[in-house]
């Protein structure tokens, strides 16, 4: 396997051919934020929080879906990138209705943690405040579109790990929603195995266990799906 050497934020690092910038950064303890990225399932570069600058390229690149190359000079952190990330995070909040104080994921939420890390103290853009549905039809779980950031981790984990492919995406732009089967209520899905993997990987409180009170997310109670990592290694990702 070919080994490439490259620089990330001025540090000399090395990685194997086929690895993403994100993978190599993780291996070397360089933190690049990302909400759609989850080790063990395919990356899709959706959230744009992992954007980095690559020397010689006029465009920003998503670190999770950009393969490393020999001699690459990557800037993962500077003021401009932080501002882009802050703006992208702000837009995630504004597209739906996120109210941390009364959310089941309060203090267990990756979006919340990230916004705190980025120093986001207020919104500069106007809120959209859309009216969206809450689906409590499943006997165990709930889906609150108000809190969905369309990272599509649920879509991928259901397809690639559970093999059920219950979740997919419907509509476009601001109207984009995840849907069960062909747009049925979750409780009416013929394919859902009620395994709960989608709930476990949701970075916010969009997917949750029914009956859980506010701020009682499950993420801290269980080891985080260790088989995802095993699966990744088996597939040589």
């Amino acid at each position: 396997m070919t080994v490439y050497t490259l620089k990330i934020d001025g540090r000399d690092v090395a990685g194997s051919e086929g690895q993403s910038i994100m993978d190599v950064a993780e291996e070397n303890g360089i933190d690049i934020p990302g909400l759609c990225h989850l080790p063990g399932i395919h990356d899709r570069g959706a959230c744009r929080l992992c954007v980095v600058k690559i020397g010689g390229s006029p465009r920003l690149a998503a670190a999770c879906v950009t393969r490393i190359a020999e001699g690459m000079d990557v800037v993962a952190h500077d003021e401009e990138l932080e501002e882009y990330r802050r703006a992208a995070t702000e837009m995630m909040f504004l597209e739906r209705n996120h109210v941390c104080a009364v959310c089941v994921a309060n203090n267990h939420c990756e979006l919340q943690e990230l916004s705190a890390d980025l120093g986001m103290t207020h919104f500069e853009l106007p809120r959209i405040s859309p009216t969206v549905d809450v689906d409590l039809s499943h006997k165990l779980f709930g889906l609150d579109h108000n809190r969905c950031i369309l990272c599509l981790r649920c879509v991928r984990v259901c397809d690639e790990i559970e093999g059920a492919h219950v979740w997919d995406v419907m509509h476009r732009g601001l109207e984009t929603r995840i849907q069960a089967d062909m747009g049925v209520d979750w409780g009416d899905s013929a394919t859902c195995t009620s395994c709960g993997k989608c709930v476990q990987v949701c970075p916010t409180g969009a997917l949750f266990e029914k009956g859980r009170p506010v701020a009682a997310g499950t993420r801290d109670e269980r080891p985080f799906l260790p088989w995802l990592r095993v699966h990744q290694e088996e597939r040589g990702l």
């Binding site: 009364v102 009170p213 009682a216």
Partner: protein, 473 residues
């Protein structure tokens, strides 16, 4: 020429309001209205939310009494799930609720009302606040601050934080009490009891000064409503709704709280966002009644704890079996606090209080649920309807201050008639109109104005809206 006096805003109460006093051509008071000028909309904004979120959403109504709303809301969801909380869960809810009663009563008596009692209603407004109390009677201020702190600490130690705690959930509580926390709370009991008894002794020694106020501040005959337990004693958490008339006779058999709608109606007036509740058998507006600490003592046979019962006996000896003056809310609030502290100790010494079974679980088994408890200011009712999946479709909240709305209006009118003479706007009148409202400790939303530094402004208006004169503090 008829005139209107407006007091806006009213200070040292929870929330914002104003008072309008209407004079006739001869300068006599013909009417007075207590306006609640804020709109919150919780009954609407919670529609469509999962019902399990309701306790946490409802706690946001108020930063002073989040626990009261948590309790009533969790009980309503218990009803929808058709479960009883586990005994340990119910007792831990009770402890948190009583911690809430202690801290809120302390805020009302010491921080908001004691300045009037210490310096007199005509005292210098610059001095008439808790800082003035701290300078003139440091022990009284220390006791008040200490009691409030202890009550808040109980909420924090059990529920994770002082404001909007998270421990109370449908089915019980989401935490297990450790022996360490239990002992830490119990360690504060002796000082809390001593502080309350010092305040009661001080209040009693000074009571005769307020003979005129006791006669004129909301002194009228009305019914009273509160929750009582099986023995007819004070119950802040559950039991039955009991309503008595001004002579102490029960107006109905004890009412199952789940049937409160059969007895309590709600009227809406165009000049206030606060609904007026009334006793249905007597109709609106005749079905006036009062809730809160005074009502709890008037309605109950006893408090059920020894020290508070001893004080209750003295209370009744001084003011009668059914106290009719709203001024006695202050006195009643202290005895209510004493009972709450004793009850906290009793509950915490129970053998099961640190047990592991703190929560019952269930799905949606009914489409409608009602939860009723005693908040510091009086009986609180939450009523929800949900769809088969548990999404909230309809909410109605009957809040303690709503029960007292008609009584507050009547009290303001009584005070205005006694103290407003012609078109002279005097500070003393202003103070007493405000203080009669403060007797009820109305909670109009979620903000604290503990230091009372907001300005009071009265406008004297001609019928055409011209300002004839102004008085500002």
């Amino acid at each position: 020429m008829s005139q209107t006096i407006v007091i806006d805003p009213v200070t040292r109460i929870e929330g914002h309001s104003k008072i309008t006093i209407q004079l006739d051509d001869r300068g006599e008071v013909v009417d007075a209205q207590f306006h609640v000028t804020q709109f919150r909309g919780f009954e609407r904004i919670t529609q469509g939310r999962p019902v399990h979120e309701m306790p946490a959403l409802m706690a946001r109504i108020c930063g002073i009494c989040p626990v009261s709303h948590l309790i009533a809301s969790a009980k309503a969801v218990d009803d929808i799930m058709a479960v009883e909380p586990t005994p340990t869960g119910a007792d831990l809810r009770r402890v948190m609720n009583l911690g809430q009663i202690v801290q809120s009563n302390a805020l009302s008596f010491f921080h908001l009302s004691s300045p009037d009692l210490l310096f007199g209603f005509d005292g210098d407004p610059a001095q008439r606040n808790i800082l003035g109390v701290a300078a003139a009677n440091p022990q009284l201020a220390r006791d008040g601050i200490g009691l409030r702190k202890w009550g808040q600490q109980i909420i924090e130690w059990l529920g994770g934080k002082r404001i909007h705690p998270e421990g109370i959930v449908p089915g019980g509580v989401a935490f297990r009490l450790t022996e360490e926390v239990r002992d830490r709370i119990l360690a504060g009991v002796p000082e809390a009891l001593a502080a309350t008894e010092r305040a009661i002794a001080w209040y009693k020694s000074d009571m005769l000064r307020w003979e005129e106020e006791a006669t004129t501040l909301g002194n009228f005959r009305s019914a009273f409503m509160a929750l009582v337990d099986r023995q007819g004693n004070v119950d802040h958490y559950g039991g039955w709704i009991k309503v008595i008339d001004a002579d102490g006779h029960a107006l109905a058999d004890p009412i199952d709280p789940k049937h409160f709608n059969d007895y309590i109606g709600e009227a809406v007036e165009p000049w206030s966002y606060l609904k007026s509740t009334f006793w249905k058998p007597m109709g609106y507006p005749d079905g006036i009644y009062r809730v809160g600490p005074l009502a709890r003592l008037n309605v109950a046979e006893k408090t059920g704890t020894p020290r508070a019962d001893e004080e209750l006996e003295k209370f009744r000896w001084r003011v009668g079996r059914v106290a009719s003056s709203s001024f006695h809310y202050h006195y009643a609030r202290l005895i209510d606090t004493l009972h709450a502290i004793e009850k906290i100790e009793l509950l915490l010494r129970g053998p099961e209080i640190t047990g592991p079974h703190t929560r019952s679980t269930a799905g949606i088994n009914r489409n409608e649920g009602i939860g009723v408890s005693e908040a510091p200011r009086g009986t609180l009712m939450h009523h929800y309807k949900v769809d088969d999946d548990g999404l909230v479709e309809w909410v109605n909240l009957v809040i303690a201050t709503g029960h007292n709305n008609m009584a507050m209006n009547r009290a303001v009118l009584q005070v205005a008639r006694h103290y407003v003479k012609g078109d002279r706007l005097e500070e003393s009148m202003l103070n007493r109109v405000e203080s009669v409202i403060r007797c009820y400790d109305p909670c109009l939303s979620c903000s604290t104005h503990a230091l009372g530094q907001m300005a009071i402004k009265i406008d004297l208006l001609a019928p055409d809206g011209r300002v004839l004169s102004q008085l500002a503090r």
